[in-house]
Amino acid sequence: MKAISAAKLYNLTDEDLMEQFQNGTIHAFNILVSRYKDRLHNFLYRYTHNHEDCEDLVQETFLRVHRSRHSYERIAKFSTWMYTIALNLAKSLYKKKQRMQKVSIHEDPDDSESREMVFEDSNVLQDEHLHQKLCVKELEKALMELNEEFREAIVLRDIQELTYEEIAEITGTAMGTVKSRINRGRQQLQEILNDYMKPETK
């Protein structure tokens, strides 16, 4: 493939950019980073619930893309390949945290003074914002309580908006299993949310 101008790189598909990167065009990698950095943050935060860990994982994902660029083959979609790397990293971190036990998976108490989450939509009224924050908190908390297999399928589908085929490829499971996990996961999520609504009987 011939080297092309920086301006033209922006119009290329992810797979073409990867090919350019494999041929030594560093700027192609930078474009991939700018295309996926937010999406990866949004995805990996659902595993870490901690901004620093999340950024570390996103950096680590791009670092692995950078290092393993020559092992990428065009038969796979770039995003599927990259999400597989990210998911494996997230799972390792999650297991490590579970082994440590001392660390809460809901919220890192040491993270209280870290930077605020950056939201896309900041154009909301104060009351609405407060209500929205409460709902978001409950939903995020319920998501973290889900069975791991259900959570990954739901996050990839409902938050990352990937297709069932892509999710099957990333998680290495059959499509029927993916669909079943999404259905059951959503039911379980509703049950967890219902439990939050129940008044305490103590």
Binding site: H41, C54, Q59, V118, D121, D158, R186, Q190
Partner: protein, 103 residues
């Protein structure tokens, strides 16, 4: 009396046509996989006319799935409306530094 003639099928009685079209559907045996498919299509809001008919047939047989489908759709909508988290400012510069030191 009106008689319906469908060429090629040999039906001359409208009732027999109606029965032959609906009976196999209402006695259809749904598998777990087809139920998952119908519920997902409902929650994705990507129902075709045909899917809508199958959904109705499913509910005729198993009305309990209406609540399941509703819950699925509501949960999906709630998750889709979660705020989108973005990378913190300066992310690309920090990544570049890390790549420079580790690659």
């Amino acid at each position: 009396m009106w008689v319906l003639e469908v060429k090629g099928f040999g039906y001359t009685n409208p009732d027999s046509l109606k029965i032959s079209l609906l009976k196999p559907m209402y006695s259809h045996q749904f598998t777990e996989e087809t139920i998952d498919d119908i519920i997902l299509q409902y929650s994705d809001e990507s129902f075709s006319f045909r899917d809508a008919i199958w959904f109705e047939v499913l509910l005729k047989q198993k009305p309990e799935y209406y609540k399941v489908a509703q819950t699925n759709r509501e949960i999906r909508n709630s998750l889709q409306s979660l705020p989108k988290l973005k990378a913190a400012p300066g992310f690309e510069a920090r990544l570049a530094m890390r790549i420079e030191s580790e690659c």
